[in-house]
């Protein structure tokens, strides 16, 4: 029996096999909430409010002198760089002999409504850096920032150059003159940022999350499940890997309203950093004040930090040693995707070794 379009009606076998796969799919999606992530052993060495600075444990002493300070974004969970064994950038850095530290911003509560980007850059990062200096007895460190964390790392490197030996930026949007669809969504007069931050002490994580998913709605809302459906039929498919990634994508963190407001107004709408107009605690934040070696890593198909937002930094910093790696892929895929361990990580590892 066929439909008018020529497609066959399902027979009983087809229905049952599809039902089995549908149940498997539901189990994969629902089970992702407990997917084991961030398993590399670490110790807490400093804390302030919700922020935690961890040092990843090594079995042998580090072979490199310069510690690496990972600065994570505010709206995502920190375990993206230590997703799971075999798919962990942290694990890779440890295997290359680096001493690795990571700041996890935690999840802000209503009491953090006044916590802005300036406070994070001028009161949190310097103290975390000091804790690293104390722990390692090394005055300088490589600061590596991912996404918004890259923006924080850039501001920190501009304000506190003495302790930054190298700056590595991973898909960090710094110039918002052409910020793509995100820029249009958050434009002045269109996006009600004042009302949003006035209503919520912390902007729910779903707000930026929906914004980024709307950049490619079909792929994010339907394509994810279609791909899972297809891959469940493959016996070599690693369901736990998919679950870990799915968990991270949907595990958004609220944004303290003052930080969110500053992020949208001063960075997206007014583009103050790229226009040399950004001040933090009365001090000018200027890209030309960054004189340490800089490595900028950008993704060619990044919709969250589109190419125009990531492409100018190497020309704008005051460093003589500023280079760029452009990786084929998207915002998250280049960091934890299947090819990350073969493509991006070794390149970063080599660069870090040569700048120790």
């Amino acid at each position: 029996m066929t439909t008018s379009a020529g497609m066959a009606w399902p027979g009983p076998d087809g229905v049952w096999s599809s039902n089995d796969r549908a149940l498997e799919m539901a189990r994969a999606v629902l089970g992702s909430i407990d997917a084991p992530v961030g398993l590399t052993p670490k110790e807490l060495i400093w804390r302030k409010n919700k922020a935690r600075l961890y040092r990843y444990l090594r079995t042998e002493p580090a072979t490199h002198q310069t510690p690496i300070f990972l600065v994570l974004p505010l709206i995502n969970r920190a375990y993206i760089l230590d997703l799971r064994p075999g798919a962990s950038f942290v694990e890779f850095l440890l295997s290359r002999g680096f001493d690795v530290f990571l700041i996890d911003w935690g999840s802000p509560g209503d009491e953090d409504r006044a916590l802005d980007v300036t406070t994070l850059v001028t009161r949190y990062l310097p103290r975390a850096a000091k804790a690293i200096q104390r722990t390692t007895s090394s005055a300088e460190m490589t600061v590596l920032g991912y996404c918004i964390g890259g923006v924080l790392a850039t501001c920190f490197a501009a304000l506190y150059p003495a302790c930054v030996r190298n700056l590595v930026l991973l898909t960090a949007p710094l110039d918002f003159a052409d910020a793509g669809q995100f820029g249009q969504m958050t434009a002045r007069g269109v996006f009600p940022v004042d009302r949003l931050t006035d209503t919520y002490p912390t902007v729910p994580g779903q707000v930026p999350d929906i914004g980024s998913k709307l950049l490619n709605p079909m792929a994010n809302y339907v394509g994810t499940y279609r791909r899972l459906w297809e891959r469940l039929g493959d016996p070599t498919f690693d369901v736990s890997g998919w679950q870990a990634m799915y968990r991270w994508v949907n595990d958004s963190v609220p944004f303290a309203s003052a930080a969110f407001r500053q992020w949208i107004v001063e960075f997206y709408q007014e583009n103050r950093l790229a226009r040399d107009m950004l001040d933090m605690d009365g001090r000018p934040v200027r890209l030309e004040d960054i004189r340490c070696p800089v490595l900028n890593i950008a993704a060619s198909r990044d919709q969250i930090a589109p190419r125009p937002t990531t492409s100018t930094v190497t020309q704008r910093v005051g460093s003589d040693d500023a280079s760029e790696i452009l990786i084929e892929g998207g915002h998250v895929g280049i960091v934890v995707g299947r090819t990350a361990s073969q493509n991006l990580w070794p390149k970063v590892g080599d660069w870090l070794s040569s700048h120790d």
């Binding site: 497609m7 302030k48 009491e111």
Partner: protein, 123 residues
Amino acid sequence: MTTEDADRASDPYETWRQLYEANERAWTSALEQAMNSPEFNESSGKMLETMLAAQKSVRESMRTYLETMNVPTREDIARLGELVIGIEEKIDQLADRLDGIEERTRPKSEGSAKAKRPAKSVG
């Protein structure tokens, strides 16, 4: 038609997949076009604003209700948290000052022997 083809044809999800694949590009491009338009951004901004107005009104009513019932509101609890955060910041500032004093009074030879590179304070 092979058995495998027949199985695939009888699978309802396979039918759905084919439908999706045949139309994905067209749907994506239509959505992209719609979402890149200023009208869409303006309209979603207005929609968000309306939802926020409703949310604010719910929050205000709840706060008034809790205050009438003599029950602490979220704001009251947040205020306590803010006080604790403020105290923590004051302690951090004191610690920074102590660090500064310690750094200035430490003999120079001790500092250079301990650090791998000449130490400069961050804060």
